[in-house]
C-alpha cells in the first residue's frame, strides 16, 4: 500500500470497510509498539501479548475513534495504559528474558573481538543494573521517560498520550532523571565522568 497515504487517510479507509487499511497501519506500528512495550515490561512474551492487545483494542475502537490526536499517539496511549495496568496488576520484578549469550554475542560483533571476555561480562552486568534502575521509576515516570527518550515524542505529544498537562510531564521527566542520577551514582563514582 502507498507509503504516501497518511495514517488518518488509512483510518478513514478502514472505517469505510477496508481491512487492508488496518493491516497497513499495523505494519507501520507493530515494531514500534512492541519495542515500547518490551522496554516497559522487559519480558518478550508479555510484550508480544500486550502488542496484540493494543491492536485488538485499536481495531475494536477505531470505528468510533475521533482523531483529536495523531493515530500513532492514540496507539501509544493504549499501549501506555496497558503497561501501567500491567505493572499495577503484576507488581512484580521484571523477568529478563534476554539470553545472556545473545547480549554477549551482539557485543562481540559490535566491539573488538579481541577485547577480554571478563570486561564484556562486567558491561553486561552494568547494562542490567542500569535497566533495573530504570524499572525503579514509577510507572508514569517511566512512561514519560521512555516516550520522550526512545519513542521520539515531543513533550506536547507525551502530554496528549498520557492525558497529562505538559507541566506534569516535565515534572515526571525531572523526577525520573534525578532518581536515575541518584540510583546510578555509585556506577560512576568509581570511574571518572
Amino acid at each position: 500500500m502507498d507509503k504516501l497515504i497518511d495514517d488518518e487517510m488509512l483510518v478513514t479507509q478502514f472505517k469505510s470497510g477496508s481491512q487492508k487499511a488496518f493491516d497497513e497501519l499495523m505494519k507501520r506500528y507493530e515494531r514500534k509498539i512492541f519495542g515500547y512495550l518490551l522496554r516497559s515490561v522487559r519480558n518478550y512474551e508479555d510484550a508480544e501479548e500486550l502488542t496484540l492487545e493494543v491492536f485488538f483494542k485499536a481495531y475494536r475502537a477505531l470505528a468510533s475513534w475521533q482523531p483529536k490526536a495523531k493515530f500513532s499517539t492514540w496507539l501509544y496511549t493504549i499501549a501506555s495504559n496497558l503497561a501501567i495496568d500491567y505493572h499495577r496488576s503484576k507488581a512484580r520484578k521484571p523477568v529478563y528474558m534476554l539470553e545472556d549469550e545473545d547480549v554477549i554475542e551482539a557485543r562481540v560483533v559490535a566491539t573488538d573481538i579481541s577485547s577480554n571476555p571478563e570486561k564484556q561480562l562486567e558491561e553486561k552486568e552494568r547494562g542490567r543494573i542500569i535497566r533495573e534502575a530504570v524499572d525503579e521509576l514509577s510507572s508514569k515516570q517511566k512512561a514519560v521517560f521512555m516516550l520522550t527518550r526512545y519513542e521520539g515524542l515531543q513533550i506536547k505529544e507525551v502530554a496528549e498520550t498520557l492525558g497529562m498537562a505538559e507541566g506534569t510531564v516535565k515534572i515526571h521527566l525531572h523526577r525520573a532523571t534525578k532518581k536515575l542520577q541518584t540510583l546510578l551514582r555509585p556506577l560512576w563514582e568509581n570511574n571518572e565522568i
Binding site: 478513514t12 470497510g17 493491516d23 512492541f34 475521533q66 551482539a106 560512576w188
Partner: protein, 205 residues
Amino acid sequence: MPKCNKSEAQAIDYVYGELDASQVVDFEHHLSTCDNCTRNVNAYKHVLHLVDEAEAELTPHIIAPRNLEAKLYRRLAEVPPVKPTLHSRLSDFATGLLLTLREQKVVSFCLFIFAVISIAFFVGNPFRPAPTIDMSQIDSADARIEQYRHQDIQRSMEDVLRNKHLRNSDGWDTVSQLNRVKDQAQGTNWANIAKKHLKNVHSEL
C-alpha cells in the same frame, strides 16, 4: 563567582534540549561562570548516556512479533463485531469530507457538493452511514485467517530461498527447511511448490 540563580530543572531541561534558543544562550553563558550547574549538567548527561547504552542493548531484539496479523484476526473472530454509533458516523462523514478535500482539492469539492445536493434532493439522506465493520460482510474471519496462513507460508518459503541463495545454506539444511514448509503448506499450492524445490535440491545434492 556570581551567586547561582538557576534551578536544577533548568539544567535538566537544558540536557533534554527543552530550552528555547534565547534560554540556551543565557544558560550557556551562566555555565561558563557556575561550577555547580556545570557539574549538574555533566552528571545528567552522563546518566542519560549510561541509560541510552543499556537500553540500546535491547534494540537488536526489537523485531515485530511473528504472525501478529493472524493472531489478531483469530482473536477478533472470537468476539462479536462493534457497531459504530450515530455520532461517530456523522463525525466520520465530516472527517472523510475534509480528507477528500485535502487530497483532491477543487474538482472533488464541486463534485461532492453536487452529489450531496442531488442525494439530499432525491433521497433526503446525505449522511448515509458508513458500513459497519463486520467480518462476515467484508471477508469471513476464516477467509482472513486462511489468507494470513498463506502469507505466512509464503514468508517461510522466501526465508528458505533467501537462506539457500544468500547464505549458501548447506543442501541438507535446505531440504529440511523445505520439508517443514511442505508440512506447513498442506492443502495449498505452496505444498506443490515446496515439492518442486525439494526435487531440484535433491538433484543438486
